[in-house]
Subunit: 245 residues, 2 copies
């Protein structure tokens, strides 16, 4: 079972104050990139793996999705998502992505934002999502980039000229990573980019697009601290499609 | 036109002494991984982009390939390849991969080892390879990994405990990288992994496998200095297939 860190009171309080929690999709600098990879929402049945406060579920409905199923492990997040969603075509449900069961061919789109790096058995989840999509259905998700997650000590080094470098190591050593981010001992699963892509391919997906997210010039002009994201990617965004078999 | 560094006398002399030049495929630690991604050679028409001394061309023929076309920009390397290859079913030809023209549907396999990171217009080359393959034809290649190529100062940092980290920066800043490796000012082209994968997809390939090469335990036991390759990948190996259209 995945660690339920979002129900840790300190973590939840800290997470609730992040720009992406306060401002929703607009508070997430990678959202404009994700949006370009999403299909037209009209009429789609949509699955959101790790829906959090439900921002994406509501966006999908506002853009015409027929139904949205939002899944999350955190009772705190689901409670707030339900409170803020007066929409009968969105269903929120508690689920552990490591033990998820889904109906067959029930969705045209599966989406996930920054949740799958908590999953221990990613191959099992990909197989579950594959059978839950219709043939040709799309799967668009973001995770923390393995370059960001791999190091023993993930923090910037700054040289005498103020230039930042990211001290990468342990990239090939896959498995758990514990960091202190909003709470102590947050548990994530490091996998190389190759491993994530190959798991998708093995489980019947074809890769449509791979984005190692970086900010645009306009984003840096508006928010200069984003410039450091040019040095190494924080997010990996993948679009894939359920292959016909 | 790509820089013809392999015909620089100092570079050529240094390159000729590398294990992969002296021992061929067996001198390249990533070769066993590449080999698992290659199809059965029997009867195939094979293209080798950047064939160097012709090691792979001869291996393909020894494993039953019907014909092999080896292309390289370096006259030094082609001269030696020709001298060492008493085989009429291998053709060596001088070519600049940035201006390559190839016949249509003439090959079942395109292969390239550590050459495509010298190419400026990779999209053009992928389009050329695509139309030169038969539908369903395979494209297997290695390049320097962008993690290895990106940094301003690509060299290990070693801490007080002897632990090595790779100072990554400039990952999102694509374009030329000049390094001093065997000669001064060797010119390579940095692209993110996402860019290389998306160029393949855009030009009609489906991604079959992505390997960010790292050594096995057996390889490290036999050659302990390979252990540092666990910290960050040096090679990126991709297998793709020409999609039917």
């Amino acid at each position: 079972m995945a660690q339920n860190i979002y129900d840790d009171p300190g973590f939840f309080a800290g997470y609730s104050e992040l720009p992406r929690s306060v401002h929703g999709l607009k508070g997430a600098p990678e959202w404009p990139t994700i949006e370009t990879l999403l299909p037209e929402m009209r009429g789609l049945r949509v699955l959101d793996l790790g829906c959090g406060f439900g921002w994406f579920c509501r966006w999908a409905r506002a853009n015409g999705a027929a139904h949205v199923l939002g899944l999350d492990l955190s009772e705190n997040m689901l409670a707030r998502a339900k409170t803020e969603t007066p929409d009968g075509a969105i269903t929120y449900q508690r689920a552990d992505l490591d033990h998820l069961e889904l109906p067959k061919a029930a969705f045209e789109l599966a989406y996930s934002s920054l949740a799958l790096h908590y999953v221990e058995n990613l191959g099992r989840l990909f197989a579950t999502v594959h059978q839950a999509l219709v043939p040709g259905g799309q799967f668009v998700f973001s995770i923390e980039h393995p370059i960001y997650m791999a190091p023993r000590e993930p923090r910037w080094l700054v040289d005498g000229q103020g230039r930042m470098t990211w001290p990468l190591d342990s990239y090939q050593i896959e498995g758990p990573r514990r960091t202190n981010w909003l709470a102590e001992g947050v548990l994530k699963q490091h996998r190389t980019m190759g491993t994530t892509l190959n798991l998708l391919i093995q489980h019947g997906f074809s890769i449509s697009h791979v984005n190692e997210w970086g900010p645009t010039d306009e984003q840096i002009a508006a928010e200069p601290e984003l410039a450091e994201e040019r040095e190494r990617p924080t997010f990996l965004i993948i679009a894939a499609e359920r292959r016909e078999r």
